[in-house]
């Protein structure tokens, strides 16, 4: 280990190499604040060559490393390995090329998600994947966890917008996957790399697909007297053949939190709020919207608002996007989940979550992407109460098992990370997990790349604290 630190100290200038306690503290955890670990050192490369050399040194000394963007992972994906190296990629923030005719952007992995759309905007283009942390999170992190957002049903996730990746594998070999076009010949290696949770080394350069900005939006907010009614409305939209850009539901507890925090103007007595957005050509959106409007009114919403302009549209969304941060007002401590159930079982899942909430005497706020069945139960607890944390964790586990039982997934977009490793083994068979480990080992024979994430033989470490990420508490980011 001493050799490695010496080599890194020689490779990096003093202001980009940290190994003293005070400097390391801010890298000890990520968006999953429960887990903390102290790395041996943090390096901040500014070039591709520095990253490759660092990885090679780690491989030679068998030292685990964790690549880290902005540390907003909600599953502990960028948490350091104790006594390992953290390779912080925020300085790799150059947009290398933007070609408006080919509709691509070539970026380094530390480029912030929203910056891509900002750079594309003058050409009438944008980068579609929009996680709520997009003002802070990086493309490299988006790739590792296949980040989603509110528009996944229609637009897909990060993997559907990545064309090419140049990466350094954990043993130092540099590979090029994919090409600049949207179609490929041969196996989809870019598709395999996205969502590999940092186990396949580090992406150095990424070619992203840009889309023409939708010409027109229509956004509707509908208030219901029950979650079941809101769920039925979602079914009605789906059955009508309309394909919305986004469809979101918030329950009463979330609405109250949101109003206290950001005053979005939501009706606070609603049992459920449904937010539906259409986007596309003006002609199509306006004609689809006539049908959507009638449909929503027929489903018994007691209050309906249609955004009159882009400012009002932004206000409708501000509430939804602040939901997680707002929950911090109701309870300092909470667990955010990310399970998926088939849409037809949404009602059943929510009733069961309600029942579990009563069983454990723990409040659960619900915010979710109704269009794709991706739930975000927010389990509010107080560790000062008797078995407060334990009850919350048990409840969280039951919800994940519920998702598996209903034929869904333990994670829609946050990934497995540290947090859900044991549940991965409940969702997949032993043979499936063994194959994942075989794939991991041919790429990373020494298991140094993000060791301990996604796949593990041991127990998950116990949690120490659950609450708002410091950036959320400061209101700088909001997450979904």
């Amino acid at each position: 280990m001493k050799d490695l630190l010496g080599e890194l100290r020689a490779l990096y200038p003093a202001d980009r190499f940290f190994d003293r306690s005070a400097e390391l503290v801010s890298y000890e955890s990520d968006g999953l604040t429960a887990f903390q670990a102290r790395p041996a050192a943090v390096v901040l490369p500014e070039s591709r060559e520095e990253i490759i050399e660092t990885v090679r040194l780690c491989y030679q000394t068998e030292t685990p490393f964790v690549a880290r963007g902005s540390g907003t992972s909600l599953s502990g994906g960028s948490m350091p390995v104790p006594d390992g190296i953290v390779i912080g990629l925020n300085r790799m923030n150059r947009i290398l090329r933007l070609d408006p005719e080919e509709m691509i952007a070539v970026v380094e992995s530390g480029v912030i998600n929203l910056k891509v759309s900002e750079a594309a905007a003058p050409y009438g283009l944008y980068y579609a994947p929009d996680p709520s942390s997009q003002q802070i999170c990086t493309i490299g992190g988006n790739i590792a966890f296949n980040s989603g957002g509110a528009h996944c049903l229609k637009y897909g996730m990060t993997t559907n917008h990545v064309l090419k990746i140049v990466a350094v594998l954990p043993d130092g070999e540099v590979v090029e996957l994919g090409d600049e076009g949207v179609d490929t010949a041969g196996p989809d290696l870019v598709g395999l790399y996205c969502g590999s949770e940092g186990l396949f080394g580090i992406a150095l350069e990424i070619t992203l697909r840009l889309l023409p900005k939708p010409e027109h939006f229509q956004t509707i907010l509908a208030a219901y007297e029950s979650l079941a009614q809101a769920g039925d409305a979602v079914s009605a939209v789906v059955s009508s053949g309309i394909l919305p850009g986004a469809m979101e539901i918030m329950d009463n507890l979330s609405i109250q939190a949101i109003e206290t925090a950001v005053h979005a103007g939501y009706p606070t007595d609603a049992a459920a709020l449904l937010l539906v957005e259409l986007d596309g050509e003006k002609e199509t959106v306006d004609s689809d919207f006539k049908h959507l409007d009638k449909l929503v009114r027929d489903t018994g919403a007691y209050e309906i608002r249609v955004a009159r302009d882009s400012d009002e549209r932004a206000r409708f969304w501000k509430g939804r996007k602040s939901a997680f941060s707002a929950i911090g007002r109701l309870s300092r401590e909470f667990i955010v989940q990310d399970g998926v159930v088939p849409r037809a079982r949404l009602g059943e899942a929510l009733s069961e979550i309600q029942r579990l909430s009563e069983k454990y005497s723990i409040r659960v706020a619900n915010v979710f992407h109704a269009g794709d069945g991706n739930l975000h139960p927010l389990i509010l607890f107080d560790s000062a109460e008797e078995r407060g944390l334990e009850r919350a964790e048990e409840l969280a586990g039951e919800i994940l098992r519920l998702c598996i039982r209903l034929g869904g997934s333990i994670t829609g977009e946050h990934g497995v990370g540290m947090e859900k490793r044991t549940y991965l083994t409940e969702m997949f068979s032993e043979n499936d997990i063994t194959m994942m480990k075989r794939l991991r080992r041919v790429i990373d024979s020494k298991e140094i790349s993000n060791r301990g994430k996604m796949l593990t033989d041991g127990e998950a470490p116990s949690l120490t604290h659950r609450g708002l990420h410091p950036l959320e508490a400061a209101g700088t980011i909001s997450r979904e």
């Binding site: 005719e101 080919e102 009438g124 179609d183 395999l192 159930v341 069945g373 977009e413 790429i443």
Partner: protein, 370 residues
């Protein structure tokens, strides 16, 4: 298409697993609609997957369907149509008897990939049997899933060499109730190409956007009948160029014909070359010189090429290598169906070792070396 080559025909995953364990080298086949990909060889056992067929689960409300790999595209499309749904990427060779497994393994999407994405953007989950005869599940049945490695994507374009698919789950979309198709004739290929470049960056929503070697753009729009004319008129004004509307009777037949590749019937080879709009002029110059038939599909992202004669494939291979483009030969005699320049070979060969440690499937060794 009747296939008289000897082959094994498993009825389920267990039988398939045993076959993989007992034979030296195997290659799965479906409807043999891409003959070069299932070429017989003395050392190769062909596995007829059509016996592992049938719809496992279809929930229109979920926008998902799960089918066994040997199921014909025809059957899948018919089932989806009864609920007003479809596979938006419109895979080819449907009428010729293509199977869903073969379609995934060859990674083929049709003109419809322009609107919402290709096959890889709609695949959700897979069952496959690996080189050890073990059944592996990857992905899931729901449209949003971040658990585990994305094996479903890896299987797209895997050519039957990374395990044999037995089951696939797809996301599906509601099918537009009405369509309108128009042709725009330009005075030169260059002019048509320039117009395509302008169209592709606009927020117009084309169900299909094709460029013909003759200098014609063919476009299709789907949606509510009342808006289609208005939207088409807008395109006409934007391009400042007259459109010829294809009449309703011929409209669906035109696009169905597309999937047959009838226009390549005199060609000895059919090749797919993925590319980008900017690369088209360079490729077009060579192909027009050689007098080969060709079409640029999906907004200029896929070139479909029909060539004449086996030596010609070497010519194309050298050109593609120079242009750093990959090619996949679907029909015609050749040493290897993969020509041109492939990226990621080193990474792929590692992956293959994990899935097929004893080399039961064809290797990727002849892919472009990095």
């Amino acid at each position: 298409m009747v296939d008289s080559r000897p082959s094994l025909a498993p009825k389920n995953e267990e039988q398939l697993g045993e076959m993989i364990q007992h034979h030296r080298r195997l290659l799965p086949m479906g409807g043999s609609t891409k003959p070069t990909l299932v070429r017989a060889r003395p050392d190769l056992v062909l596995i007829d997957m059509k016996g592992i067929s049938g719809i496992v689960e279809y929930e229109p409300e979920e926008y998902t369907i799960t089918v066994r790999a040997g199921t014909s595209l025809r059957e899948v499309a018919r089932e989806l149509a009864t609920h007003g749904q479809f596979l938006p990427f419109a895979p080819p060779f449907l009428d010729e008897g293509a199977t869903i497994g073969g379609t995934v393994a060859s990674g083929l999407s049709g003109p419809g990939r322009h609107r919402y994405g290709g096959l890889r953007d709609f695949i959700l989950g897979v069952h496959l049997v690996d080189g050890r005869g073990v059944r592996i599940v990857g992905g899931g049945k729901v449209v949003k899933n971040a658990a585990g490695f994305d094996l479903p994507k890896l299987m797209v374009g895997s050519l039957g060499r990374l395990g044999i698919l037995t089951r696939v789950s797809f996301k599906i979309f509601p099918r537009p109730t009405h369509y309108i198709t128009a042709r725009i004739h330009f005075e030169s290929f260059g002019a048509a190409h320039r117009a395509l470049t302008k169209l592709a960056v606009q927020p117009f929503e084309f169900a299909a956007l094709e460029l013909e070697a003759s200098g014609e753009i063919v476009l299709r729009m789907g949606g509510r009948p009342a808006s289609l004319e208005t939207r088409l008129n807008r395109i006409e004004r934007f391009l400042d160029h007259p459109l010829q509307r294809v009449d309703n009777d011929s409209e669906s037949a035109y696009w169905r014909d597309y999937g047959h590749f009838g226009w390549t019937s005199n060609a000895t080879h059919l090749i797919k070359v993925p590319l980008t709009i900017k690369r088209i002029p360079e490729l077009e110059a060579a192909l027009s010189d050689w007098r080969w038939v060709r079409r640029y599909s999906a907004g200029g992202n896929i070139a479909w090429i029909g060539s004449n004669g086996s030596e010609s494939i070497d010519q194309l291979h050298r050109l593609l290598q120079e242009m750093k483009l990959a090619g996949l030969i679907l029909r015609g005699e050749t040493e290897s169906p993969t020509i041109g320049h492939y990226r990621g070979g080193k990474f792929l060969r590692r992956i293959q070792k994990a899935i097929d440690p004893e080399g039961k499937f064809l290797s990727f060794d002849s892919l472009g070396k990095d």
